[in-house]
Amino acid sequence: MNNAFNHPQTVVVLGGTSEIAGALIDRLIANRCRTVVLAGRDTDGLVHATRRAEARGADIVRSVVFDALENDKAEETIAACFDAADAPVDLVVVAVGFLGNAGADLDDAERIAESITVNFTWPAVALGVVARHLRAQGSGRIVVLSSVAGIRIRAANFIYGSAKAGLDGFALGLAESLRGSGVQLQVVRPGFVRTKMTAGLRPAPFAVDPDSVATAVMRGIERNQPVIWVPSLLRWVFLGLRHLPQEVWRRLPG
C-alpha cells in the first residue's frame, strides 16, 4: 500500500532496464518499496537490474520478459506483472521507449512503424490494461514517462517526438478518465536526459541526468503533481517555446 507520504511498497516497472527506471527504482527502494517487478526486453539487462534492486534492499524482485513490438501480448504481459507482484500494486511506471534516428529511419517504413509502436502504441495498449487492473484493485498510481520532445516537435527526432506526443495526450486523457476511481496517473516530461539512448548526441540546453529525473519524479509523486517537468523550469520555458514561430524554433540549438 502507499503510505502517508505516497511512498509505494509494491512497484511494477515496464521498461525496467532503462537508466531512468534504474535511478527511480533506487529511490523507491530507499523509501519503503519492498517488491519490484521489472518488465523488459533485454534479458541481460533484466538480470543486471534485478541484482541492482536486490543490492539496494528490495525483498522481492521478479522479472517479466516482453517485447514492445507485440501489441497483442500486452494484456498477457501486464497480467504476468500483477501476478508476479502477488500484492496490491501501488505504482506502475511506464518507461518504455526508443529514440531511433529520424533522418536515417525515414526511408524505412518498418522503422517508422516500429518507433511509433514502441513509443506510443504498445504503451497505450498497456496503459489501458494497467488502468483496468488498478481500477479493480481500487487504488494505485501510474507514472508515464513522456518527453518534452512531444511538446514541440523538432526535425531531429520527430518520429520519436510525435509518438511521445501521442502518448502524452493519451496519458492525460486517461488521467481524466481515472478521476474518482482511486487511481492516479502522472505524466513526466523530462528534457534532454544524458543516457546511453542519447549518447553521442549533443546535449540540449537544460540537459539533466537520470538521477535528477528520479529525484524530480519522487517529489512529484509525494506531491501528486499531475505533470512533472524535469527540470521544473521547463514548464515555463515550453510555455513560450510552444508558441514560437516555426522559423525561430528551427534555428534554436539542441
Binding site: 500500500m1 502507499n2 507520504f5 522481492i60 500484492a87 496490491p88
Partner: protein
C-alpha cells in the same frame, strides 16, 4: 435493535472482496479504509439502551458516537469512562483502537470498561466478554477491526456529580521538570496530561504546561454555576471555512503560537473549574480544524516507551527543533499497565503524541529514526494514528501479534477482513524474511 445481522461473507465470487468496518473515520491513517473492497458503514448501529442506575452498565450500538452517549448519560449523572481527544468517535472505533484517555495511568484503556460485545464475523456472530471467549474479546480490543464488526457493546459508565472539571495547571520550564512533576503527583489525579512545546530550543527545550484534574463535585462549584451542575454539551459552531492552499502550520507560525500559548498559561493555578468539553475535547471546539493544515494534510505520530526510557522522549523532543520540524501539538502522558489485547497500544510508560504538516521535507526519514529509537527500547507506535510505519518493525513492536492472527484465522479463515492498514503492514500475511 431492529437490525438483523448476517455473517460477513464474500459478497461475490470475485477474488478480491475485502471488508472492514468504519466508524466516524477519526483514525488518522488508513485503518478504516479498504481500497477495492467494502467499507461497512456502522452508523445504522447507533442505539443507546437504558442506563442501569446502580451499575452504570449500558448497551449501545457499535456505531454510536461517544458524543451521543454523553448527551444522554450526563443528564442522569453518568459519563464515558475513557475519553480520547475527540468525542466524535464511535464505540466500535474506540474498541478497535482500544483508545486511551488522560486517565490511563489510573483507569486503563477503553476496553477495560467493556463488559461484553457482539461481533459479526465471517464465521458467525459471537457475543463475547473477558470471561466468554476471552481470546476473541481481547483480540478485538485494539484489533483495528480485523476480527469483525462490533455491532453492540455493553459499557460501564462512571458516576459524575457535575459536567464540570476541577483542574490544576502548572507551567514547567523544561522537559525534565514536567516529567518529574508527573512522576511525583500523577497518582493524586484521575486525569493528567502535558502539552509540550517542541519548537523551543536550548534551555527551554520541552517547556510544558501540565494540566491535571478530576470531575468537580457539586460542592466545588461556586454559586455562579450552582444552577447548571449538568450542562449538556452543544455542538460547536466555529469552523474552518475552507482548505487553505498552503499549510497555516509552518515552523514560524508554530513557534509563535507555542510561545504565545505558553506565556498565556499561568505559572500555577489550582482548583480552576472548567467545562468538561474544553478539558477533554479542546479540538472539538473547531469543526474541521484539520483543514488548517492545508491541502496536503498532516501526519500524526504517537509512541509509548517503558517508564525507564524517559531519555527516548527527551531525544524525540530534541530532534524536532534542529530538524526544522514543527510539531504544534505534542502531548505527553503516562500510561499505567496495559490490558491483555495483543494489538492494544498502551503499555506502562511514557507516551508522546506529535503531529506534523505532511509535506515537510525531511519528515519521513525523521520519523523512521524515531521508530528505531522506540523499537530499540521495546516501545511501539499507535496504529490508529499510523500511515507510514516500516512493516518490518511491526512484529518487533507488537510481539504478540501472532495471537491476533491465530484468532483471525478462526473467525475469518478466508481473510475477508482486511484494511489498507493491514495490507500495508502485512498483518495476517506472510512476512518476507
Amino acid at each position: 435493535m431492529g437490525v438483523t445481522h448476517t455473517p460477513l461473507t464474500s459478497q461475490s465470487s470475485e477474488p478480491h472482496r475485502w471488508v472492514i468496518a468504519r466508524g466516524l473515520g477519526r483514525s488518522y491513517g488508513d485503518a478504516a479504509q479498504c481500497s477495492g473492497g467494502v467499507v461497512v458503514d456502522t452508523s445504522a448501529y447507533s442505539s443507546i439502551g437504558l442506563i442501569d442506575p446502580v451499575t452504570g452498565l449500558v448497551e449501545v450500538g457499535g456505531g454510536t458516537s461517544l458524543a451521543a452517549i454523553m448527551r444522554v448519560s450526563l443528564a442522569s449523572g453518568w459519563f464515558i469512562p475513557v475519553s480520547p481527544g475527540t468525542r466524535h468517535v464511535t464505540v466500535g472505533g474506540a474498541i478497535a483502537a482500544d483508545v486511551h484517555g488522560k486517565n490511563h495511568h489510573r483507569d486503563g484503556s477503553f476496553c477495560s470498561f467493556v463488559a461484553s460485545l457482539t461481533l459479526v464475523t465471517p464465521a458467525g456472530i459471537f457475543t463475547i466478554s473477558p470471561d466468554e471467549d476471552a481470546e476473541l474479546f481481547w483480540a478485538t480490543a485494539g484489533g483495528m477491526g480485523l476480527t469483525g464488526v462490533v455491532v453492540k457493546a455493553t459499557l460501564r459508565l462512571i458516576r459524575v456529580e457535575t459536567s464540570w472539571m476541577e483542574t490544576d495547571t502548572e507551567r514547567c520550564d523544561d522537559l525534565d521538570a514536567v516529567m518529574s512533576a508527573m512522576e511525583e503527583a500523577d497518582h493524586n489525579y484521575r486525569y493528567s496530561v502535558a502539552w509540550v512545546d517542541c519548537s523551543s530550543r536550548g534551555k527551554h527545550l520541552g517547556r510544558s504546561v501540565l494540566t491535571r484534574g478530576d470531575h468537580a463535585p457539586i460542592g466545588a462549584l461556586g454559586l455562579a454555576n450552582a444552577t447548571s451542575f449538568i450542562d449538556i454539551p452543544a455542538e460547536s459552531r466555529v469552523r474552518v471555512p475552507f482548505t487553505l492552499p498552503l499549510s497555516a502550520v509552518g515552523p514560524h507560525t508554530v513557534q509563535a503560537f507555542n510561545a504565545l500559548w505558553f506565556r498565556k498559561s499561568p505559572k500555577r493555578k489550582c482548583g480552576a473549574i472548567v467545562p468538561l468539553t474544553s478539558f477533554f475535547y479542546p479540538l472539538d471546539g473547531i469543526n474541521e480544524w484539520n483543514l488548517l493544515y492545508g491541502r496536503r494534510g498532516f501526519v500524526q505520530y504517537q509512541f509509548v516507551v517503558g517508564p525507564q526510557h524517559a531519555d527516548v522522549v527527551r531525544a524525540a523532543v530534541g530532534m524536532m527543533g534542529p530538524a526544522g520540524i514543527p510539531s504544534s501539538l505534542a502531548v505527553l502522558k503516562r500510561f499505567g499497565p496495559g490490558d491483555p489485547g495483543p494489538l492494544s497500544f498502551p503499555i506502562e510508560g511514557w507516551t508522546l503524541a506529535l503531529d506534523f504538516p505532511a509535506g515537510l521535507p525531511g519528515l519521513p526519514p525523521l520519523l523512521d529514526r524515531l521508530d528505531e529509537l522506540v523499537v530499540g527500547v521495546g516501545g511501539r507506535i499507535y496504529l490508529a494514528k499510523d500511515a507510514r510505519l516500516r512493516p518490518e518493525l511491526l512484529r518487533a513492536m507488537y510481539p504478540r501479534i501472532g495471537e491476533l492472527e491465530a484468532v483471525r484465522d478462526r473467525v475469518d479463515p478466508d481473510h475477508v477482513l482486511q484494511s489498507d492498514l493491514s495490507r500495508r503492514l502485512g498483518i495476517g500475511q506472510k512476512v518476507p524474511s
